[in-house]
Amino acid sequence: MNSIALPHPNYVDARRQHGQDDDPRGSVLRLDAVPFRLVSGAELPEVTVAYQTYGALNAAKSNAVLICHALTLDQHVANPHPITGKDGWWESAVGPGRIIDTNRFFVICANVLGGCLGTTGPKEINPATGREWGIDFPVITIGDMVRLQAAFLDQLGIPDLFCVIGGSMGGMQVLDWAARYPERVFSAIPVATTARHSAQNIAFHEVGRQAIMADPEWRGGSYYGGPGPKAGLSVARMAAHITYLSEAGLHQKFGRKLQDRDALTFGFDADFQIESYLRHQGSTFVDRFDANSYLYITRAMDYFDLAADYGGLLANAFKGTQARFCVASFTSDWLYPTAESRAIVHALNAVAAAVSFVEFETDKGHDAFLLDVPEFYDVLRGFIGAAAEKRGL
C-alpha cells in the first residue's frame, strides 16, 4: 500500500497517485482554517491545496518528508507529469530505495500558494466575483507559502516533519520553515538557495515580469479564456533559463553551433542552437504555466529576505533551533552562488546549530540541484540516513 487513509472529510484521495488520474492536480484538499490571512494582511476566503504523496505515514507519524518545489515546478515530484508526460522532476532522488526512500518515508509535495497546478492562485476562481482572480489576487510571500503548507499538514494530521527539503525557491521555503516552525522541523536541507533575494535576482525577475506585462495578450492580467501572453511568458522563461545554466555549460553544450544549417542566414531566424534551445524552452513552458502565477511567485521570491523578518540579523531567524541542517551549493551556480549558502551557514553557526555544508563542483549551473550530481546524492544519502537513524526511523 502506498498511502494512508486519513480520516478527514476534505481529504479527497491520497491514493490517486502516479499521475494516473485524469485530474492533473493529483490530490486536492480544501483548507478548513479559512479565511487564510496573508503576511500582507489580505485574506483568502477559500484555499485549495493540490498535492502528491508517496509512501506511507508510520504509526508514530514521524517519517514525513516535505519536498518544497521551485518557481516553475509543481507537486509532481516522482510521477509522470500529467501535462507534459515527462518524468517527475525529482524522480532520480525520490522513490522506492532511492535517496528519499518512499518505502521508508512518507513524502509530501504540495503545489505552492499562487501556483497554477491546483493550489489557490491567480488563475483560480475568486469566490467574490465568480471569475479568475487575475491580478486581484493578493501579493503573497514565501512565508505565506510555508504557513499554508503548515496549515495543510495540520489538516492532514501530520504534527511535524522528519525532513524539509528543497532547492532554489524550495530552499527558501525550507529556511522559512526552519525559522517559523523550529519545533516542527527535525532536519532541513536547503539546496542552491539564498536567505535573501539579491538586486541581481530581482533584476532578472523584473525583466521576466515586464516581458509578460508588455505582451498585449496579458490584458492587465485578465486574459483567461483568451490566448494569454504566450510570447511574453516565453521570453520571461528564456531569460530566466539562462540564469539557470552556466557559461561553461552553455559553451560545452552549444558553443556557436548552428541549428540545422551550414551557414549563417543573415537574418533573425534561430541560426544558433542556443537560440533554438531557448525558444523551445520558452514555447513549451507556456503550455504548462500560468503567466500571472509567474508574476506572483517571482514577486514572492523578490520579497524574500529572511533576516529582515528577524531584526535584520539572519542568525536570529534560527535562534534555538534543534534541527539538523545540510546546506548545499554548486560551484557554477551564479544565480544563488555559494556565498549565499555560506551566509546561511554562518548564521546557523552563530546559533550553534548542527549544520553541514558542501559545495559541489559542477558546470551545470543553478539547475544542478535538479540533476543527478553523484557527489550531491552521496551527501544527501549520508545526511538523510544519519538523521533517520537519529530519529529512530
Binding site: 550553534a352 555544508f357 552521496d378
Partner: protein, 223 residues
C-alpha cells in the same frame, strides 16, 4: 554515558585522538578544524558525548563526515574561522593541521577567540631524528609524521615545540597542559618536560587558554 574504554579500543581509535578526547569535558561544544574523514569527531560524539562540529577543506572529507552523520562545514581554516562567533565553542581543536595553515599565528588567535580553550597538535621539527637527517644527510627530513617530499608537502609552517611555546608566550596564550607523543600517537614516556620533549617527542599536544584582556565583544586582545 561515556563509552567503555574496551569498546573504544575495539574500534581502534588512534591514540592521539583518545588523548585529545580525554582533554575535553563530556557535554562540551567542540569545533574540530581540519577534521578530515571525521575520526576525531566521531570519537568525540559517540564515545565522549561531546557536541562536536567540524570544518574541512576537502569535499571528500566533508562527504565522508556527513555520511557518518557528523555536522561538518566545508571551509578553509585560513579564511573561514573569522566567521565564527566569539566564544561559540568550549574547545577549538586543530589536530595535525597547524603546520599546514598559511597564517598560523592568525589561526591560533582565531581558535582562542572562537573557543574558550584550544587543543593543538603538530609534528615536532625539533625531534632528534629530524635533526639527524638534516645534520648528517643534509636532506629534508622524512619521518612517519613528515612523510611528504619538500616540493609538495602541505606542511608549510613547521616548528619545534620550543618555537610553538614561544609563539604562545608572545601572544599571551597560557599552556594549560602539554603532552609529548611518539610516532604511534602514544604518550611519550621519555619526555616529561617541554625542553626534553623538544628533542625526544615526535609530536606535541597542547591544551591552551587565553586569560588576558578581552575587548567589548569578548575577543582576546593579543599582545
Amino acid at each position: 554515558m561515556v563509552t567503555r574504554e574496551a569498546d573504544i579500543r575495539a574500534r581502534d581509535v588512534r591514540v592521539d585522538l583518545l588523548e585529545i578526547g580525554r582533554m575535553i569535558e563530556p557535554g562540551s561544544r567542540v569545533l574540530d578544524i581540519g577534521c578530515g574523514d571525521g575520526d576525531l569527531l566521531y570519537h568525540l560524539v559517540h564515545d565522549r558525548r561531546v557536541d562536536a562540529r567540524g570544518m574541512e577543506l576537502t569535499r571528500e572529507g566533508v562527504n565522508a563526515c556527513v555520511a557518518r552523520g557528523l555536522s561538518v562545514v566545508q571551509g578553509d581554516a585560513d579564511r573561514d574561522l573569522v566567521d565564527y562567533p566569539t566564544g561559540a565553542f568550549d574547545y577549538a581543536v586543530l589536530s595535525q593541521t597547524l603546520q599546514a595553515m598559511r597564517d598560523t599565528r592568525a589561526g591560533l588567535e582565531q581558535m582562542l577567540r572562537i573557543g574558550k580553550r584550544a587543543i593543538v597538535s603538530f609534528p615536532n621539527f625539533g625531534y632528534w631524528r629530524v635533526r639527524m637527517q638534516l645534520l648528517f644527510r643534509g636532506r629534508m627530513p622524512d619521518t612517519q609524521t613528515l612523510e611528504h617530499p619538500w616540493y609538495n608537502t602541505p606542511n608549510i609552517h613547521l616548528c619545534t615545540i620550543r618555537d610553538f611555546i614561544e609563539l604562545c608566550e608572545d601572544l599571551g596564550i597560557s599552556i594549560e597542559r602539554f603532552l609529548a607523543i611518539d610516532a604511534g600517537g602514544k604518550r611519550s614516556s621519555t619526555a616529561h618536560s617541554a625542553r626534553r620533549a623538544n628533542l625526544m617527542a615526535e609530536q606535541a599536544l597542547f591544551l591552551l587558554a587565553f586569560n588576558g584582556a578581552r575587548d567589548s565583544s569578548g575577543a582576546p586582545i593579543y599582545r
